[in-house]
């Protein structure tokens, strides 16, 4: 339509960090310009799709505010005053500063802080390769909201993610669950295509859909039953359901016995599992089961045992109980009435949901990071998984299908196997490393595809204590984000149409994100940026093959799932992962937990009292708000208009969604004399933010929601992360990496003094940096 003349088509992939949708994109190119994007074909037409962000992606590529050349800071950090420099000068400066800092403090003092790379691989890996070769520090961004789910999943299933266990083949559309329970997640907005479509397909085929969420989301609007749970009480809800399941004998004993630690005896004194050595099998670390037939303890590998999964037994003077009994004892404390009081969900609904899950043929549990962003979010996930496991709704066997994509990163990241690699810090651990040199000092930080100040907990602390203390801040960005404003050296990066990458999504496909146009202005791809710096650090040889060389390195690294997949063939279109033909046999999946079973009883957490998925109160979220200084729980849902802070500056989306609002229930609004569209200030001891209200029933009373991702500067003042805290849960530190508890924050809301602020513009972009853009020929904005 809009295009004239000869148009060529290039298939690429939108790698936006929206989870793993990774939509195939057909780019229409006219001359050196992409004039249109549309959904690209897949071998299986159900994968043809695009979302409103993908559709708007040209507005990112051709945004007039793109950073166009490297810059050096001129004013104070954060002031936004920069001057143009050349790439050579920028990279020389960074290399010299890095070397100087490394001489004084060691290479470890340089931290590569890389955000969610989206579905991308090489753009992420290139920096880590450099981190590894220099033995500097990788600052992992999992802890920016996404590490509690892996913490819980690792404890329960021994795997980074619980999805394959909780959903099995659900996403292939080939199974017909009787129920789909969406717990603490809003896929209708955050994963509309690969996830929400499948949920609606399942519903069309008869599945009952249940949604558990403190907000009545778009996903909830599709549910047969909505449970408006109080934030941070999910583990209690799960225990209440487990109570009913046990009381009514609805658990799947066969499954529990075969795939979980249910029959293994645990000591009531120390909380450890009884081992073979405890019953006289010398040196045996095997788990022990109480055999009902012989009424005696036996090591679990013995044949012909009739396991007892209940009761109290005495083994060589030790009182012990099967893990399932320990769980029953815990669940005993959560009858539906008490659970209802804690969670705010009605008693009969808790009972009925437990009965339905307990009696349904198959239940698919859909979940994600959202409900794990509370202080004990890892336990919430474990509790959910325990409900699934007790009712036999965990996929614990394999009988054929596409192998999940596994990337062997080693040869890529660890380019020189003879040398030690990078050190690793979680992003929450970066705070202390910079502020108080613990566990060791970080003096320089490199930011790529991350908007740290905007998106990470406790922005004031970041601005006043972290950014002021760092010797060097480098950011590679597309825009002058709130974080970029603090950079000493600012490098212009490419949008996805300007470089190639390997995208191992959506399951069961691998795709090639193909470069469609040359980098605009002076922007460079992340791989190019890393390689330019590597050359100056004497490491150029490891980077001389460019993006394509790295893609080949991953494809050729020998993981069976990638067999037969080559870059040449990927150019023609997506390729399916390796298929293992269906087998008659069902092979038990060996879980990578210490017991190789689903561990709803996690021995190593006994000393902190969390071996079972206990319910522990959230850190801040006020369960009993009466008389509290900050009686409201503040949570941050995700918006369909953004992926985190990406797309927040796109005018075509701002037209539809012009400014941040705080969603507040009419009852809470009335108590505060607040009306819809009022300007209000949301605050606590850490900070405040001022914005308009949306008074609506769709958010639980005593809970207020602001969707995350709006940029500082788009609010009247402050931002969501001026309210959040950076408290570390030490248990998560031992399990994996500490998480930011974005949904476990207490606040109060008051009407702002000044209501008659000038009429807002239709959309409002953050104040632009004060630098002058020289005319760049033929590269103006879109229209």
């Amino acid at each position: 339509m809009a295009e004239r003349g000869k148009t060529s088509l290039v298939r690429t992939v939108c790698p936006a960090h929206c989870g793993i949708d990774a939509c195939g994109i057909l780019a229409h190119v006219n001359g050196d310009r992409v004039v249109k994007v549309e959904p690209a074909d897949f071998p299986d037409p159900k994968h043809k799709r695009i979302c409103l962000r993908g559709l708007s992606s040209l507005d990112i590529t051709y945004h007039p505010d793109r950073l166009k050349y490297p810059m050096r800071r001129r004013g104070e950090r954060g002031e936004g005053k920069f001057e143009r420099i050349s790439w050579g000068e920028a990279l020389d400066t960074i290399a010299e500063r890095f070397k100087g800092l490394a001489d004084r403090y060691g290479w470890r003092s340089i931290g590569w802080t890389l955000g969610g790379p989206g579905a991308g691989t090489t753009k992420f890996g290139a920096y880590l390769r450099l981190a590894s070769l220099t033995q500097s520090t990788r600052v992992s961004a999992w802890g920016y909201g996404d590490s509690a789910l892996p913490c819980g999943s690792r404890a329960l299933f021994g795997a980074q993610f619980p999805y394959q266990f909780l959903m099995g083949k659900f996403l292939t559309g080939k199974v017909k669950p009787e129920m789909v329970v969406v717990w603490g997640s809003n896929p209708a907005e955050s994963q509309p295509l690969n996830m929400m479509r499948r949920i609606m397909d399942a519903k069309e085929r008869g599945a009952h859909v249940v949604v558990i969420d403190p907000r009545f989301t778009v996903t909830a609007s599709k549910a047969d039953q909505y449970l408006g749970v109080r934030p941070g009480t999910d583990a209690a809800l799960a225990l209440g359901m487990i109570n009913v399941i046990f009381r009514e004998g609805l658990q799947d004993d066969g499954f529990i016995q075969r795939h979980t630690v249910g029959p293994y005896l645990g000591r009531t004194d120390t909380g450890e599992y009884v081992r073979g050595r405890d019953i006289g099998a010398e040196g045996s670390e095997e788990y022990v089961i109480w055999d009902g037939a012989s009424d005696s303890p036996r090591v679990c590998s013995d044949v012909g045992i009739t396991p007892l999964m209940s009761g109290t037994h005495t083994v060589k003077g030790l009182t012990c109980k099967p893990a399932l009994q320990l769980l029953m004892d815990l669940a005993q404390e959560y009858p539906p009435e008490r659970t209802a009081e804690i969670t705010g969900v009605r008693t009969h609904i808790i009972t009925r949901l437990a009965q339905r899950i307990g009696t349904a043929n198959s239940v698919t549990f859909v979940t994600n990071m959202g409900f794990t962003r509370t202080y004990h979010g890892d336990i919430s996930l474990r509790a959910l998984g325990t409900v699934a496991a007790l009712t036999g709704n965990v996929t614990a066997t394999f009988s054929g299908g596409y192998l999940p994509a596994v990337l062997n990163w080693r040869p890529f990241l660890h380019a020189d196997p003879d040398r030690p690699s990078y050190s690793r810090l979680g992003i929450l651990q970066l705070y202390d490393a910079v502020i108080s040199d613990k566990p060791y000092p970080i003096k320089a930080v490199w930011f790529s595809f991350i908007n740290f100040l905007n998106q990470c907990a406790h922005s004031t602390k970041i601005a006043n204590e972290i950014f002021t203390k760092l010797d060097l801040i480098v950011a590679a960005e597309l825009f002058m984000t709130p974080t970029a404003r603090y950079a000493d050296i600012l490098l212009p990066a490419c949008s996805y149409l300007e470089f190639s990458d390997l995208i191992p999504f959506p399951y069961p496909y691998v795709q090639l994100q193909q470069k469609v146009i040359e980098p605009l202005y002076e922007s460079r791809s992340d791989v190019d940026i890393a390689s330019g710096l590597a050359g100056r650090l004497g490491l150029g040889e490891y980077f001389d093959k460019g993006e394509e060389g790295f893609i080949d390195l991953i494809l050729d690294s020998g993981d069976p799932s990638m067999e037969g997949i080559t870059r040449e063939r990927l150019r023609e279109g997506p390729m399916r992962l390796r298929l293992i033909p269906d087998m008659d046999q069902q092979l038990d999946i060996p879980f990578s937990t210490p017991s190789r079973k689903i561990e709803f009883y996690c021995e190593r957490l006994r000393e902190v009292g969390q071996a079972l998925p206990v319910y522990l109160e959230p850190l801040e979220a006020p369960l009993k708000p009466e008389g509290k200084k900050y009686p409201l729980t503040f949570i941050q849902g995700h918006s369909r208009f953004r992926t985190h802070s990406m797309f927040a500056n796109v005018p075509s989306l701002l037209e539809l969604n012009p400014e941040p609002v705080v969603e507040i229930n009419p009852r809470d609004a009335a108590e505060r004399d607040i009306s819809d569209n009022d300007l209000v200030t949301v605050f606590n001891d850490r900070g405040k933010t001022t914005l308009r209200t949306r008074v609506m029933e769709g958010v639980r009373p005593r809970v207020v929601n602001i969707t995350e991702g709006w940029w500082i500067g788009q609010f009247k003042e402050g931002s969501v992360n001026h309210l959040t805290h950076d408290v570390i849960n030490p248990v998560q530190e031992t399990l994996y990496e500490p998480n930011m508890h974005m949904n476990d924050v207490a606040v109060e809301v008051v009407k702002a003094d000044n209501q008659d602020s000038p009429q807002r513009p239709r959309y409002h972009l953050p104040e632009l940096p004060q630098y002058h853009l020289p005319e760049l020929r033929g590269r103006r904005g879109r229209r």
């Binding site: 339509m1 907005e189 549910a223 047969d224 029933e697 769709g698």
Partner: protein
């Protein structure tokens, strides 16, 4: 029989995402939004009706109905609007002088006024695409797979099959314009 091209939008699957709105705007390089997604019975977008937690929410994407008896066509003094044989009601912007007579008679508020060019504009059912055998752009970009396009007069078409099997409705049938846009209501929640 003559074709009667039209759309069926399934509210059960509509996510209210507004991808259709954005898609249409890009495809037709428009100023205004030719599709507007309303949240039903709500004062503003994305807000449910009822009292927490007993709530419901559904979405109603609204666009030109490509009426069989289109009053807009008759109202236009310059014959800028026309009804094609196969169904689409098309506005020729070259001829439009911005008098807005069509906007006054459309019962669906489906015609937008482009202040910039001082002309009316509306959905033309993507005739530039459907004439090439492609589906309208909003349909292929619909996140929920809620939009269906086809010949309502062909018993075997996908849209006819939906009309045969699902309960559907038209907006304001009493206006007598015979819309070619049908909606399927959302299914009521079944509880537990």
């Amino acid at each position: 029989m003559k074709k009667r091209l039209g759309l069926v939008i399934d509210q059960e699957r509509c996510l209210g995402c507004e991808a259709c709105t954005v898609a249409c705007k890009i495809e037709n390089a428009t100023k205004e939004h030719w599709i507007r997604v309303e949240t039903q019975n709500a004062a503003q977008k994305d807000t449910p009706e009822g009292r927490f937690p007993d709530l419901k929410m559904s979405f109603l994407p609204r666009l030109c109905n490509h009426c069989a008896q289109p009053p807009c066509v008759d109202a236009c003094p310059l014959e800028a609007l026309g009804k094609r044989e196969d169904g689409p009601v098309v506005l020729d912007q070259q001829r439009c002088d911005g008098c807005q007579a069509c906007m006054e008679v459309c019962p669906y508020d489906a015609i937008r006024y482009n202040n910039h060019e001082e002309k009316a504009e509306k959905c033309n059912l993507c005739i530039h695409r459907i004439d090439k055998g492609l589906e309208p752009f909003c349909v292929i970009c619909c996140e929920g797979q809620a939009m269906h396009f086809g010949d309502l007069n062909d018993n075997t078409s996908a849209v006819s099959r939906i009309l045969d099997t699902r309960e559907t409705f038209q907006l304001n049938p009493e206006a007598g314009t015979e819309p070619s846009l049908y909606y399927c209501s959302p299914k009521p929640p079944r509880g537990l």
